[in-house]
Symmetry: D2
Subunit: 350 residues, 4 copies
Amino acid sequence: MNFASDNTMGASAPVLDAILRANNGAEPAYGADSGMKRVETQFAKLFERDVKVFLVATGTAANALCIAAAVPPWGICVSHREAHIVEDECGAPEFFTQGAKLVGLPGVMAKLDAAVVDHYVSGLPNASKQMPPKAVSLSQATECGTIYQLEEIAAISAICRKHGMSLHMDGARFANAMVSLGCSPAEMTWKQGVDILSFGATKNGCLSAEAIVVFDGKLAETLDYRRKRAGQILSKGRLLSAQFEGYFADDHWLANARHANAAARKLADGLKKLESVRIAWPVEANEVFPILPLAMESRLKAAGAQFHRWAKTSLAPQEKMTGDETLVRLVTSFATQGTDIDQFLQAAAG
Amino acid sequence: MNFASDNTMGASAPVLDAILRANNGAEPAYGADSGMKRVETQFAKLFERDVKVFLVATGTAANALCIAAAVPPWGICVSHREAHIVEDECGAPEFFTQGAKLVGLPGVMAKLDAAVVDHYVSGLPNASKQMPPKAVSLSQATECGTIYQLEEIAAISAICRKHGMSLHMDGARFANAMVSLGCSPAEMTWKQGVDILSFGATKNGCLSAEAIVVFDGKLAETLDYRRKRAGQILSKGRLLSAQFEGYFADDHWLANARHANAAARKLADGLKKLESVRIAWPVEANEVFPILPLAMESRLKAAGAQFHRWAKTSLAPQEKMTGDETLVRLVTSFATQGTDIDQFLQAAAG
Amino acid sequence: MNFASDNTMGASAPVLDAILRANNGAEPAYGADSGMKRVETQFAKLFERDVKVFLVATGTAANALCIAAAVPPWGICVSHREAHIVEDECGAPEFFTQGAKLVGLPGVMAKLDAAVVDHYVSGLPNASKQMPPKAVSLSQATECGTIYQLEEIAAISAICRKHGMSLHMDGARFANAMVSLGCSPAEMTWKQGVDILSFGATKNGCLSAEAIVVFDGKLAETLDYRRKRAGQILSKGRLLSAQFEGYFADDHWLANARHANAAARKLADGLKKLESVRIAWPVEANEVFPILPLAMESRLKAAGAQFHRWAKTSLAPQEKMTGDETLVRLVTSFATQGTDIDQFLQAAAG
Amino acid sequence: MNFASDNTMGASAPVLDAILRANNGAEPAYGADSGMKRVETQFAKLFERDVKVFLVATGTAANALCIAAAVPPWGICVSHREAHIVEDECGAPEFFTQGAKLVGLPGVMAKLDAAVVDHYVSGLPNASKQMPPKAVSLSQATECGTIYQLEEIAAISAICRKHGMSLHMDGARFANAMVSLGCSPAEMTWKQGVDILSFGATKNGCLSAEAIVVFDGKLAETLDYRRKRAGQILSKGRLLSAQFEGYFADDHWLANARHANAAARKLADGLKKLESVRIAWPVEANEVFPILPLAMESRLKAAGAQFHRWAKTSLAPQEKMTGDETLVRLVTSFATQGTDIDQFLQAAAG
């Protein structure tokens, strides 16, 4: 019953098999391996256009490199105030950009609102004493497990265009969001104006594999140097390309994401039946955020369930938790089993 | 016949098996996995003392983090002028240190000489207009495939102590050097005064696994933050710890290194028998640097041999290459097969 | 009628005279001039203890160097959200710290509240995924022209001690605040726990002269290098030291600050008599923030008065401005003349 | 008898007068003062074209900002190995560029040779593992007091064009070099292909006034932000613009430079008459580098002469100093008096 995160499980079998297969024989180093060429082709096909792809080992590196490509050291990157880049990366974006400022704006369900972004950016002074806004970064899915609708992405992108800013998408849970929307990779990204994407694969079945996918060619110009300089070009690059080969083959990545999302829905449906539980935000991807009685939390822990408490920052204003309640996060993954959910719900029911 | 590098092959079987084994079940993320605890114990045992261990994905990251831990942005790091950190990491040490200066000194066979270091450092002005020397970095084995003897390391360490500098060892080929010297990990490092070590495993049988091993506790204080900030903490940390488990088990790493070194010796011995070939530097680890007639180089390439030409910077002054000759590098690895060597020598003989 | 800023006037006469006097004869360069030695003695006397003093040309450099001395690249510096370091220095603190995060907290009248700081800092996670809090920076006087009382500084300092943070004071208007409190330099700084101070002199009668005054010796260790590296060590250092000599002689700096503060009070007293004007915040230093009818603003501009509109961020919650009103800032200085004030008030009265 | 540096004297009278004149009245802050507008016009006239001008307080800041405008964090800036930017700025270029590499090449008389630059740059690998060359920086006059002829500058510029590099000139002694060549500002800079210039004025009669002059408009795009962020925009900007007004009026700057150069020649001529003295490098600007007997050095010091010993790095190979000799630097300035020279020569003669 491990619902602590979608990074507590290893790789899914097809990904692991791909690593095994790719291990044989000699291959050029530093990303010049034959698998990488196939992966580049695959990304172009998936996104229905030419893209530049840079593989890295971690989501933090992917995000920080994307932002550094879009924001100069004296620029501002706008995101939701609960965004992973703001809260959980120990200043990696500041390090990679060499001093840019991350401005976190409020928004219900951890989502940026285009009008709020516009209002903030429009209010900035235009002088060399102040840092100019250069990019917006949005998380799809968000830190509350919610999803930007396509028109919401387009609306934010329009604000970016208006102010000369780039649009970055932190897609640590890209697949979960995409299958939830039922759209294509292209529709969720560049067709709505996304310029650069952190395409996450680790959480959804890989071991350590993230891709920077660049739609605005200008943003790709410095990335080879930035990535090398950051120690993110693996000498045995096949480790990264192989994972993506296994991930994409036979739409395995979509199956993984659908499995995780379905598990989250099942978990949420079960919890909703309990009178003492409220679900804080819509369950749109692979995360469920129930507000539980403390007694239920204890019971679940005692039964061996693993999960974390969560910040209340983005609760709706009308949501009034009592002192006897707690907000927790339950994350499902490609590896979540029906029996885990059943056991969890049983323990919750008490 | 791939002698291009020791990173052109994948993982050795025991390392790959360890990845497979570690893939099962839930594990805490971000380096809190059970394997990591075992790996820490293993490192302490290997080095016969308490050490701090930080795993990262690449040698570039390991080196750059080590140097950043030891050298402030306004400090100088001294190394051989052909060192990997100077020539081949696209300024990663400058990025991670945020502007420190790498000063490359000359030295035969790519080795730093303690007296040369002392002379350089002693000649530096002592004023805030000039950057103060803060560390020496030496590569073991060197970029010429040669090895520092223990007393040479100790001599450099003494110079470091004299001037208040830290001593870093870039051990990308740590195992090859160590089995060549026939000493223990402790003897090759902290017992000679090494303060911080990039312990390479990727080239010697892993896929992507490097460890920063810290002997001077003070240098470890900032590394957790620096590593996270650099996007070098893998969420599924088991990928890194598992490789080390497979690497160390049953002295597998030593066997790999001995195999590679023996292959290099065999290759060198065969080449030495050819009248038209000279070996530029002593073959002390897993690299051979022959000076070949251009015709022989063509013949070898035609036969399918893969290798790179190499820089003549560290040739002995008396070595006079003719216009018909070229200097090349041949790298052997745990995966080099006897038949590769035989074929290569046959093609060389013509 | 120039109330736009206290940096629109040149130097006061004694400061200018001191520059003239110091211009003669040969002096060692780079801060080794005889005037600098006298200035160091003067600072020690003023602060009643040993201090380290580093002169620089701008307040931005002083602030950024102070914060860089106290906060590592991965650390957080807490200040009021309207602080000059957050809003008006184009990321200088981020540049000098090489990526630290400035967190701006709310607070009425642009003042940080110790309890708010404590609550924020106490709520931070303690993990390498998150940046640790390392310093608090407070502005004395504040961006609203208000003043921290000694016990308020002490309360914030206590929170700093509790959490292992350093306390920086941005004293761009140090003298105005101090004469307003009627205390000594020591009482307003280290006796309340301030660790490092930007001691501003430019606004109060100099042309370009700011001092970093360090009370916590540990914070001084890197400043010589940081300052040189930032291009802030003037070769003809006498320009800076001379200004401070003229500034301090015969308590000239106190006279200047008292003059400016008195002018602000006179201006405020006159404005208060006008029914249609409200003063937004207490006038405690040399700035007045009236809420004016738009018609009055136009009248004043037409009469030649110079001043800027101001942000409403720190208005008290109960303050309800109408659409016909505007909030403006009026700054007085050592050079403000009574006739300027009279004319301004006359024009305001209409 | 102060020949230690051209920064040991204060400002010349016309510059000081200009500061006094500019001190009166209100002026907009942060470089928007009326004097700055006149200075911009003056620079355009002097250089016979549109230029972008950014005033800063120190030569270190000017150089570091110029290089940062031209070289990305992962780029190489080539200069002579004795260049001020390499040896005497505590890593300011590395700080402002955020990690670029300064590569110092050898060259007689501290001058870069176009062929040497070409050979070095042509030999660099072209891969993301290695930092790409992005700029050349040359010092006019050099650290040996020598001067690049116009065709030498043009030759280096041609190499820059060939390799896509920018050309920076460190003109800390711009005026001395220019009057020595007898050419115009335009001829010594953009007409030979210089892209960006540190135009020094401090050493030649100002107190603290340096200008970044940009000929390649693209290099100017980021400088407003970079300068603010570096704390190099003076709030009372008139201090900087006034110095330039006094400096340029009535060709005062040229007179100062001619005076200093003539003094250096007179000093050199006198020294050449002494049998035991050799002049190490041609005296082309305001510096003389004699090789003296140690006894003469002692005699001069005893007589009160001030000067520094100098590095022998750039001595001609055939120059053989004995153990009884020393190389020293004598710097003349606008303020050097004939009697100083006479006394010095008398003491030297013994």
